[in-house]
Amino acid sequence: MMRLLSLVLLCCGATLFAATPTEKAFPFPYTQEELPNGLRLVTIPTGFPNIVALYIVVQTGSRNEVEEGKSGYAHLFEHLMFRGTPRFPAEKYQALVKTAGGDQNAYTSADITVYHITFSKEDLDTMLMLEADRFQNLKYSPEIFKTETLAVLGEYNKNVADPNQKLFETLAETAFARHPYKHTTMGFLKDIQAMPEQYEYGIEFFNRYYKPEYTTIIVAGDINKAAVKTAVGRYWGKWQRGKYRPDIPAEPPQEKPATAQIAWPTATLPQLAVAFKAPAYSDRDPDWAALNLISYLGFAENSDLYQKLVVQEQKVDSLGGFLSPSPDPYLFTILARIKKPTDIRYVQDQTLATLQKFSDVLVERKQLDTVKEHLRYGYSLSLDNTQAVAAAAARALRGQRDLDTVDRLYALYAKITPEDVQKAAKKYLVDKNRTIVTLTGGK
């Protein structure tokens, strides 16, 4: 990364980092600041020429859908945000984005909703103005609201062909009793079908979260930081703070292992999800980082279990471990797709035995170092263009609105010891924290 950073510094004249670049996992000289209204601004000169990526991160997702019968609204709002304002109705907004050649989209996760657009640098001022307008002045009729709920149902319909979707839905619903992580970002089907009649609630959801104190603007690419700051102040500075503070129900401790079985109506391969309640993301406490290292140590392509089940015995055709950097405690999950239904139990036993070993035996330091190296190179290889840099920054803001977390996390990984790994395994990978879901196909 040394050469890339030198290039960035040369281009932008920025020398914000005192530390040597190799110590920084996020290698670009970014600046974070907060406007008086609570809006955060992150500017990242990347050194890649001509292109600018504008990512707007709103701290709301399906995690914020706390009321019964109201799942899926964060995602619905992602759709509604494209429905225009009095000054720029949808067609006019689209025409301006088109003329600028903008590459535009949005996504919703459990924790954040992200609006992003990538374009040529000369259009930055126009884009900041347009986006500020829709965040502050969105207006749509009940008829438009109803039509958009059908597009959301259409999205559900296109997803539903995939058994993975059902597996994730069931896993969440089985593992969680109270916390909104109980439902996926799409929401429950019955709630999606009831959306057309919820115009008023839709507005309430918008008024709660589409406020400066929940929003971060990331501007990355070929930029002048001072000019960006001036433009953001001009267009976004008058946006008023809100008052709403969410009361997200905490998940009570799980008392005993849980299971669920899904009978998929058509032919498919069996799938197995073995999940454990995991800690919330932290860049200071070692448990989350240690568990993430376990997901690679135990289940990555070079792991003993992967080699045994996928390469040698060939009983499984995909295997992986996953830990989400969630702001509230979520799941550490192992997913396997198995070739024969008769092998499900065997694969489950092998998975549990692999996990148990992390509690029983200290991992070798060399193995641990290899995973740390893999994570570090994997991250830097992914930052090969402005859009990817801005997207990575947006993902890092999933919990706190603070990009420094990337460097803190990689510094924490560097310090994790075999003892830390064992401690995390003993604490979290225990029977009473466990949920197992299996899916088997029909004819």
């Binding site: 990364m1 050469r3 890339l4 290039l7 292109i51 494209f82 025409a95 984005v97 088109k98 003329t99 600028a100 050649g101 903008g102 590459d103 535009q104 989209n105 990538t118 374009f119 040529s120 259009d123 009940p142 008829e143 438009i144 109803k146 039509t147 958009e148 709920t149 059908l150 597009a151 259409g154 999205e155 319909n157 296109k158 539903v160 062909a161 058994p163 057309p196 109506p265 058509t266 032919a267 498919t268 391969l269 392509e301 070079n302 080699q307 390469v311 040698q312 060939q314 055709d317 290899t370 190296e373 893999h374 570090r376 190179y377 830097s380 290889l381 090969d384 263009n385 402005t386 859009q387």
Partner: protein, 489 residues
């Protein structure tokens, strides 16, 4: 003139030199993109899927010296891999590394391609993977990609482009290491090879790579199997019977225009205006999703674009001799499937009759002029597009498109639309439950009255009165119903 020379070089039978596309830069990464001008169109007729299986065995198997486990162990700390992509005319191996790991990574990359392990247990694994892709991922879990694959199969039926790249299950089951080795020896030649290398590699490195690959056989001049399918001149439908909640639809016809042809820039504008991939603001998207809430999105294509439900940008190195024009209607509820098809065809018919307005043309042209820079934002994309330009015999893609757009008028576009697109000459593919019912509707044209969950503007109500009666003239004998289990067997 320059384009002509490149074209001559590429198609010259005497050409046996490895071609190198080098894009050095100041990045800390080094990118490799190794393309062989061969692919699924070169599968022997009784062995569909051979090219794909061979490429997968190279990228996910082993080498003569290293087992799969040793290979993975060596790649893992660098977070690196070699990925393969197979299409009809191109097999691509690509990967990137931090420059600090260049020697280690390149040694592995080179060995994987030049000294494959040809192990039986690796073959068994990648073969299972291919069969499960067809049976489970494509047939079982992705109705949208399924409809697209069936559309291509139908249009190119009986020709080298008429089989899915992954092949057929019965042919895959029979393939042996010997089959793969023969394909490799015949097709992985210097004659077919283009080496793409970009990023912060040291001086002289590209020459070294070229020299290393000279161990491959020079290769005899390959005769290119012609893809040319003829359009039927009428409407036809293939309905795939599958238990499903909604109906996935794709429709299309042969398009005798590809990059480098005079009408390509005009049709690029048309595609963007009518249905820019995964973007709001396209005509189909506006009329079907935004205005009527029929589904999640509706798009149009003039080039092959697989895996569109997972990607926002096209992958390079899917260059083909013949393309199709395609309309993709994302899943609709069964009760509105007939209306949705009518609306798409109504809009398509309108596009051909009325063309684009001056204002829409200007806006779309401005979009493409700027958006093209975003398509080519990574070194991998830069290499991929440059290799495609070599294939098509055109200058760098962005230069080619921008200079053509500068000269283009709305009149050119509307004439190109009328020259190349025909609303009465299409294959329609739908994946649906109760196909007999859909067949009946498509062949008898009953009224498809629409009801909405909210009042619509007067002009939409009026337009719906036309669309609900819009004739789709398909004779019952031109509609085929296919059970999903029979596909790719």
């Amino acid at each position: 003139m320059r384009a002509l020379i490149v074209l001559l070089l590429l198609s010259s039978a005497a050409w046996a030199q490895i071609r190198v596309v080098a894009r050095p830069g100041k990045s800390a990464l080094v990118d490799f993109r190794i393309v062989f001008l061969t692919g699924a169109a070169y599968d022997p007729p009784e062995k569909p899927g051979l090219a794909n299986l061979t490429a997968t065995l190279l990228s996910e198997g082993s080498t003569r010296e290293l087992s799969h486990k040793q290979l993975v162990d060596a790649m893992f700390p660098m977070a690196a891999a070699v990925t393969s992509q197979v299409d009809k005319e191109m097999i691509t191996f690509y990967g990137s590394t931090d420059v600090q790991n260049l020697e280690r990574y390149y040694t592995l990359f080179r060995t994987m391609l030049l000294n494959p392990g040809w192990r039986e247990d690796d073959l068994r694994r990648v073969k299972d993977q291919a069969i499960n892709y067809l049976r489970v991922s494509l047939r079982g879990a992705n109705e949208e990609e399924l409809a697209k694959e069936v559309l291509y199969q139908t249009i190119f039926d009986g020709r080298p482009y008429g089989r899915t790249n992954v092949g057929s299950i019965s042919a895959l089951e029979k393939m042996t290491i010997g089959d793969l080795r023969r394909f490799y020896e015949l097709q992985f030649t210097q004659q077919n090879l283009i080496i793409g290398i970009g990023g912060g590699y040291p001086q002289g490195f590209a020459d070294r790579v070229k020299k290393d690959f000279e161990v491959l056989p020079k290769g005899a001049p390959t005769s290119r199997p012609m893809a040319t399918a003829k359009s039927p001149g009428i409407l036809q439908a293939v309905l795939v019977e599958k238990p499903t909640r909604s109906v996935a639809i794709s429709m299309g016809t042969t398009l005798d225009v590809k990059r480098g042809d005079p009408d390509f820039p005009a049709l690029l504008v048309t595609q963007s205006y009518f249905g820019q991939h995964r973007a709001s603001g396209g005509r189909l998207y506006d009329r079907m999703r935004e205005l009527r809430g029929l589904n999640y999105g509706d798009y149009a294509y003039i080039e092959y674009f697989p895996r569109g439900m997972f990607r926002f940008e096209p992958e390079p190195n899917l260059a083909r001799q013949q393309q199709i024009f395609q309309i993709w209607i994302r899943p609709v509820p069964p009760e509105t499937a007939h209306f949705s098809m009518r609306l798409a065809l109504f809009e398509f018919d309108k596009l051909i009759r009325d063309g684009m307005s001056q204002e829409a043309f200007e806006r779309t042209r401005s979009f493409l002029n700027k958006n093209i820079n975003l398509l080519i934002k990574t070194k991998q994309a830069e290499l991929g597009y440059a290799i495609d330009s070599l294939y098509y015999g055109i200058p760098e893609y962005s230069t080619y498109v921008k200079s053509a757009l500068a000269k283009l008028t709305v009149k050119d576009v509307n004439e190109a639309i009328r020259r190349n697109l025909r609303a009465t000459d299409l294959r329609i593919v739908a994946v649906a439950q109760n196909c007999e019912d859909l067949k009946k509707k498509l062949s008898t044209n009953p009224l498809s009255t629409m009801t909405y969950n909210s009042p619509k503007p007067e002009d939409v109500v009026e337009e719906d009165k036309i669309i609900e009666r819009f004739r789709i003239d398909i004779k019952p004998e031109s509609i085929q119903i296919v059970p999903v289990e029979s596909l790719f067997e």
